[in-house]
Symmetry: D2
Subunit: 355 residues, 4 copies
């Protein structure tokens, strides 16, 4: 019989937080212990013990009473009292920088969904301008961090105290490219192009000019050219240089989903079979990646699933390919990957609670 | 030869303002005199003479140079200097309350797109909570106001100094109902239902939780039940009591367009022909209303046109009807109606510049 | 320990069929016995044993192998061989008319998602123009049919051999109205208005002019005025006459979800508390209805859930109310309700597999 | 004073046809002569002289009576009788192949919106599999054809008897690339990537599985990899080989608009100023191209305008650029470009009737 654990979630109010709550509330290994939800709670709500989940996300109300669970005011004492084993942070980068060291100090294992601890190279971290970068504490904390992509770092995640959950765009670019680059197939001199498109939930819940329905609907816009902050993750995890790739995100007029269309040249001519073999071997034992054999993935196939879908097409010469990857930015691009990491950390079935 | 005039627009930055600019820039009678655009301009932009229209609304850039026109800092002196004849206010209600008296005092004619001066009954104005309500100046100004729906008040508009341009929802409910109620056909005891649905541009340009793409997209929500502030306009213009109608607005997941589905009972059995006759007579000489003879209007037919579309279906008894009206909330529901009013005020062809 | 059963699904290729497959594949009581999928299969696919589910609906592929399950060629022999206990028909009306009598004859219990057996009155069935209407077999079959809305007919469903699963619009209108009408509160002389709006999946999977993206997107259209075929269900189940209600469906530019905005007058003044009491008592023991106490349901809250959401607002007089109901047309409006019926028929928890 | 001409349109029923009708009906030089609309007309409609435009496209009804104009049954006699000068074909490729030779023979000038006559190289035409390819008549007709992109072939278009109006995707890729390639800046060895995204109207009006709202909405899909039929146009007009570029179209969940995100490397380091100079010089005298100096174009800026918008961003090295082009596939990508060609053929202002 699998042992259960106590989880806690900071930041259930956001989009990824809501999906994380849904996944944890229905996770077969957590049935007897719903997560503790903590965060910023105003005085009037604190007076009634917190904000009911059903008021924050009416779609989470169910006949098991999930809607009555409350987001309580954050305090380290509360987490201790509840005996939290794994702490999920769906918080802004700066907040994760501040809280993770103390959480580790207090013996909790942390899965951080922000970009706070994903990057090992200072040059790549520069884009975030972390105020504490360079301090001893930050450096020490970074040493504990494992990049939370089980398909690449399963073993380290199993033992990790701090898992830095990957960015959504990064996941959609690393998964299809890593196997080919690792196998030495890709002609880096000619350069890789990753043209990515994401739904609006990727831009967060704060109302801004760019998340206004009138801006996003019936539109498509490119942004962050030559400078999106997920670029550092791509480079470090795939193992390439900035001059090897151009990564361009676009804002799609849909709520959820990411597609990356990736253009590569190969050092030697490939066949569909040779590439499928590389992918199959790389993703053997990786239940959350679906390889498309005879067709290309579409955003609709992966949205509201926990899978990353990968397909490709070769040109007649076998020297050029277009690779298409799709995933749900809130799930495999955030919350599902976090739960997948928890499953690995606990030694549970990696796909538990994700289908 | 028609004489041209000088127009000015306050509030070009909003959605209705952009459409108003487009209409005025291409209006055949205003070719030699583009509008003066004025509004709030920050110091750095004031230093360069204002903000180029092309930066505010890139879609207005054309080969005639419209994109280089500037929104200049508002001042009464500037309006005087430019010899403004008609001032369009696409401003918040409170600002219109403040500015209109001075504009009239300075001899300009005003077309106000806000709700500031539409209502003659104090009880109906209560919903706006105007701070100056009850003052002598406000009362005197209100006396000048004509409700700017040419189909109802063409003659008064021709001579008006202040035209209170109707609300978008109100237009979509008044136009289909007024002819039937005025003809005494409608059984008011049984009550009218006006179930209205509007695109998101009706909610304005400020980013809010409700205009966030994630809230509006793939959704439908009802709001303002028994209390939407366009209700007063309906009652005054149709000439009915609050107990005679229920008006319910909904937020549609589309950028533009309003549909009102209106349910009425008749005192006596009607036929399609008898109702069409009433409508045709009422709208004779009204070029911006299109009657649908054999089908029902849809939002797509009227969006990006200046028309209000009306159609209906009777039940077998002839005693009940469903009437459907559609219009573009930014055009016939705002800017086009404002230009239509200008045309009437100037004695120009009523549909000039609107097709 | 709950006993499992063998289910079969005809019509997995459609939208409701896909959702039904997803629900049955993950139903806790059916873990050891995936459904048998049968239907029309072309010769080339029959040669490989049928069409893999993963080719029909790539989003159903999972690590449990669901994508490899096949839709096999329909035959009564196959169903017998597999020992099918409950047969789900997600088929056209005419096909259900033809197949249900034989299925009953062969001892299977049937849950029919079409409109074939929902109506007891010949006048209401006229809209379908069933070719076999009036035959003895049809009449005998109709006697077995129970209208599959557990909130109204839980006991009869438990023992039913044939469950006629309700229409999506009908569900969204019956659930909010039945409790009030049954309690004698509604003033029928003044008439009820049900203004309903549905996403495009309700129009089925066949490509038509009306399901074309260019027709449906950025649009809203009313249809089926005074004649939609769900009207008969409303009347029979609520227990009112055709002259008591006007029901108008609209096509919303969203994939899924129904909202019905319902206007009623009461014989006597009501309060929020008095109405909530009526609803609470009526829906006691009904886990799939969520009552909204302080706000109105929106389509987003219920989409991709199995719930019907109900909320309302009274006017100041207490004599008029606007009731808003929302549900997912493919779930509580079709597949989830079918599974809910199965749960009732088997004596399982009514919400099993639906959250 | 400009002389007017008689135009005719075959294929007003489609999306591009509707836009073409709208443009021609409001064209300042055609005020006294509305286009002749011809096409396939069923017997019952032929009996009443054709199908009123207002029944085909209700949004074209206006107070000038445009809705009463009729699509009449096609015949060469009718075109002769009406004295047609320029014939617009918004017809399928095969139909254009058949009709153009006769139209030319009869002395009309033709602007063909199909792909029938765009390609000079047999290898590129293979994708269309024209049945008459290789015949003398086809070869002779092809000799008359001028590729209808005024920015590239203004002089030849002025005198052309047959203008082959460009494809929508092709326009969005040729315009931004041609100036750079013609100036010898682009490093073709490293390859160009053109990642294009188009709204659903590009897929035509026939209801298909891919134009179904449920397929297109909330989705993104790539198609036509390494084989889309606009590829030949790109190659011939830009003057590059198939191995120099990868062009990948995607289906966007919006009604209209194309964005192409184009990735190039330069032989030598460039600056923003050096590239803007190349573009400015190339597009001097081209009113329908808008260069974005400080920002990137978005689909919203160009939709429902007749412009092609171009912007770009260089990386720090000056050796790589991402170029973004946007246009409305039905306007600059089809109908507006056709009208622009007519303007050039008649010696009118090139932007006449396009703003």
């Amino acid at each position: 019989m699998k042992e259960t654990i106590q989880t806690a979630v900071v930041g259930v109010t956001g989009y990824a937080g809501a999906e994380l709550a849904r996944l944890l509330l229905h996770h077969p290994c957590l049935k007897s212990k719903p997560p503790v939800f903590v965060g910023r709670v105003e005085a009037k709500d604190a007076a009634r013990g917190g904000i009911p989940l059903g008021e924050i996300h009416p779609e989470l109300i169910d006949s098991k009473g999930s809607g009555a669970l409350k987001q309580e005011p954050f305090s380290w004492e509360l987490l201790k009292e509840r005996g939290v084993d794994i702490l999920f942070l769906a918080t802004p980068h700066e907040q994760s920088r501040e809280w993770v060291p103390e959480a580790l100090e207090r013996g909790m294992r942390v899965i951080d969904l922000s970009g706070a601890w994903r990057l090992t190279e200072a040059a790549n971290r520069a884009v975030y301008a972390f105020e504490d970068d360079g301090t001893e504490l930050a450096a020490a904390t970074q040493l504990h961090a494992v990049y939370g992509m089980p398909e690449l770092h399963r073993k380290q995640i199993a033992d990790a105290r701090l898992v830095a959950n990957p960015g959504c765009y990064a996941t959609s670019v690393i998964l299809p490219l890593k196997p080919l680059v690792a196998a030495g197939l890709v002609d880096l001199k000619h350069g890789i192009v990753a043209d990515s498109k994401s739904g609006v939930s990727g831009a967060g819940k704060s109302p801004t000019a760019k998340t206004h329905f009138m801006y996003a609907a019936d539109n498509l816009s490119a942004y962050g050219l030559f400078g999106h902050r997920h670029t550092g993750e791509l480079l470090e995890q795939i193992g390439i240089a900035g001059s090897d790739i151009i990564f361009t995100p676009h804002l799609l007029p849909i709520p959820r989903g990411i597609m990356s269309t990736i253009y590569v040249r190969f050092n030697d001519a490939q066949t569909r079979a040779s590439l499928m073999k590389v992918y199959r071997e790389f993703f053997a034992g990786s239940p959350m990646v679906r390889l498309f054999d005879n067709s290309l993935p579409q955003i609709q196939n992966s949205v509201r699933t926990s899978y990353a879908d990968i397909g490709f097409q070769l040109d007649a010469s076998g020297r050029r390919a277009v690779i298409v990857s799709c995933l749900d930015n809130l799930l495999k691009g955030a919350s599902s990957q976090a739960v997948q990491n928890m499953n690995v950390m606990q030694g549970w079935l990696e796909s538990e609670g994700l289908e």
